[in-house]
């Protein structure tokens, strides 16, 4: 039984078109032209309890729109979705009690007051028992390293500091479902790791269901067993990262550092393709179904003196970029 069920969800935004220039503006006063944007176009998927799903897609694909609908704050044009058997926008207050959300780029903290004041208000809004509030608050403070930030007015925080506080704010009431829309925006390496660790922990240890939207593929690689790819309001693929790779291409890369003074004279019949040649370093792409890495290396080293070799998967960014490009076609 899935916890989140989304069925042919469609959202059409109607935008009053603003015409350029003064004449356009005057014409707009008389008659408005409407344009439709189909942000979601029949999105279907299901998420089980305790899953951690990456929700990715190019800019404007409809990720944030999905999160808004699932949070109950946007009413879709058609289609349905249920979270724990509740329709989010119809039963919003009951639905959000068990929901934590981070909308990256925005803050839920009170701008002119110390962070701790916002946390205390959340305690009141969600009626969090004092002992739970203290325990969860201390835990998050430690994990996200908020100790020095709690008494600082929010407007004085850096973007990354604020995002860490925002994540903590979304978790104080121990929600069973968590939607994160670009939570790692603006975070430095250490903060990203801390953020991921927190998400991983609450997912593994407390069984919190998480839907994570991000453009940082490291987030996806390190966290998500399952990835949903959305493009132009439609789900393009649904599966593990490995299966995503396979749908795009099974290609792997062999990185070759040629020995001193040796120059690259082309493939010369090797069953691979040149991806990149830069000085003494050559990156070859090959299909493991077609030729085993060991065989390719054997034939290569027979031809060229080689200093170093490395086999790797193409960077996930490339895979995803290909996938997006394919989805648009």
């Amino acid at each position: 039984m899935s916890q989140i069920v989304v069925e042919s969800l469609t959202k059409v935004f109607r935008i009053a078109e603003r015409r350029a220039g003064l004449r356009g503006a005057l014409a707009g006063l008389v008659r408005r032209r409407n344009r439709e944007v189909r942000a979601l176009d029949g999105v279907c998927f299901q998420v089980g309890r305790g899953e951690l799903v990456g929700y990715i897609g190019p800019n404007g694909a409809g990720k944030s729109t999905t999160v808004k609908v699932l949070s109950g704050i946007l009413v879709p044009t058609s289609g349905t979705c249920e979270v724990d058997g509740r329709i989010p926008w119809r039963d919003r207050r009951a639905h959000v009690r068990n929901l934590g959300v981070v909308f990256g780029q925005r803050t839920q903290l009170w701008w002119d007051l110390p962070v701790v004041e916002s946390f205390e208000l959340l305690r009141d809004l969600y009626a969090i028992p004092a002992d739970r509030f203290r325990a969860v608050g201390d835990e998050l403070t430690r994990r996200l390293d908020l100790g020095g930030l709690l008494n600082v007015p929010v407007r004085q925080l850096s973007l990354g500091q604020r995002m860490r506080c925002d994540l903590a704010a979304a978790l104080l009431h121990e929600p069973g479902v968590l939607f994160l829309d670009e939570p790692t925006i603006g975070l430095d390496a250490a903060s990203k790791l801390a953020m991921r660790e927190v998400v991983r922990t609450i997912n593994r240890e407390q069984g919190v269901t998480v839907i994570l939207t991000t453009h940082d593929m490291d987030d996806i690689e390190s966290l998500c067993q399952r990835v949903l790819v959305v493009a132009e309001g439609k789900i393009l693929c649904d599966g593990s990262l490995a299966s995503l790779r396979r749908t795009v291409s099974s290609e792997r890369h062999l990185i070759v550092d040629l020995a001193e003074g040796i120059s690259w004279n082309g493939l010369d019949g090797l069953p691979a393709r040149e991806v990149e040649v830069a000085g003494g370093r050559v990156r070859l792409g090959f299909d493991p179904e077609n030729v085993a890495a060991a065989e390719l290396i054997g034939r290569l080293t027979a031809r060229y003196p080689v200093r170093d070799l490395l086999v790797e998967n193409p960077p996930i960014e490339e895979v995803i970029a290909k996938l997006y490009a394919g989805g648009k076609a």
Binding site: A94, W110, D112
Partner: protein, 273 residues
């Protein structure tokens, strides 16, 4: 929303607005000038008139100064933080709270309003009530309330006035859900609110013909009812009627605001990705 939660929201917004005290000081100065101008014109007017003024000189002085103290109670403007919230889409966070959104915003608006009123009213009260008499400006100082009972009625009516101002302000905030912009409403509102509340000319000085209309409108509950009670123009014995009417208006406006908000939220498009 539970009372403790409501109180937490009110006090948080109150304290947040309190951060901007410099603006309040500038406002106090403006209100002193306004007060003198209005008081001088009305006194000159009363002196030249043939008919008896509906307000005694003390009542008039108290009305004008207390009115100036309560200038920021006038619900003619929108809370910029609410406007920003809707424009940028941060309102999303208000909607994912397991509380009634109207109640949440009402408390926010109440905290904002009372914070502005306190920062403006308290220094001005000290000035016209304590400093003026000490400086020998007795004729211009704030007179004492008509009686202890009048003072009590004034305070009760003022409390209702604050709730009424908040309910009126909420109508403005709710319209932002459609317009994304308070401009249209804030162009229209000041003229109505300032005139019909008695902020510019005390309502008792309006012609008799419009008195029934003024008495029926909600704006009178903002400052006119409290100030007349203070000066004894409405005797304590007759206090209940106007106060109850203000309270009824407040309840009606809250019902209207809730209804509008429910509709507004159904069509709202949370801005920004």
């Amino acid at each position: 929303m539970r009372p403790a939660t409501a109180w937490a929201v009110v006090s948080l917004r109150f304290r947040e607005v309190l951060q901007y005290r410099a603006a309040a000081w500038a406002g106090v100065f403006t209100q002193v000038i306004f007060g003198f101008i209005i008081l001088m014109s009305l006194r000159a007017f009363a002196a030249s008139g043939t008919a008896d003024s509906p307000l005694s000189p003390e009542q008039l002085t108290a009305y004008v100064w207390l009115g100036q103290c309560l200038f920021t109670l006038m619900p003619w403007n929108a809370d910029r933080s609410v406007v920003a919230m809707v424009r940028t889409g941060s309102v999303a966070y208000e909607l994912v709270r397991p509380v009634d959104t109207y109640a949440l915003w009402y408390c926010r608006t109440l905290g904002w309003r009372t914070s502005m009123v306190c920062t403006r009213a308290l220094p001005l009260l000290v000035l016209v009530g304590v400093v003026f008499p000490l400086a020998g400006l007795d004729g211009w100082a704030l007179p004492a309330p008509a009686s202890a009972g009048a003072l009590a009625c004034f305070l009760v009516a003022l409390a209702v006035g604050v709730l009424l101002a908040t309910a009126l302000g909420m109508l403005m905030h709710v319209t932002i859900l459609w317009t994304l912009d308070p401009e249209g409403v804030t162009r229209l509102a000041p003229a109505f609110v300032m005139l019909l509340s008695g902020m510019i000319i005390p309502l008792p000085l309006f012609p008799d013909a419009v008195q029934p209309l003024l008495a029926a409108l909600p704006f009178r509950g903002l400052i006119d009812v409290p100030l007349r009670l203070y000066g004894g123009h409405i005797p304590v014995a007759a206090a209940l009627g106007p106060i109850a009417l203000s309270a009824a208006w407040t309840a009606a406006l809250i019902v209207l605001g809730r209804w509008m908000m429910a509709r507004g939220l159904r069509q709202i498009v949370i801005q920004g990705g």
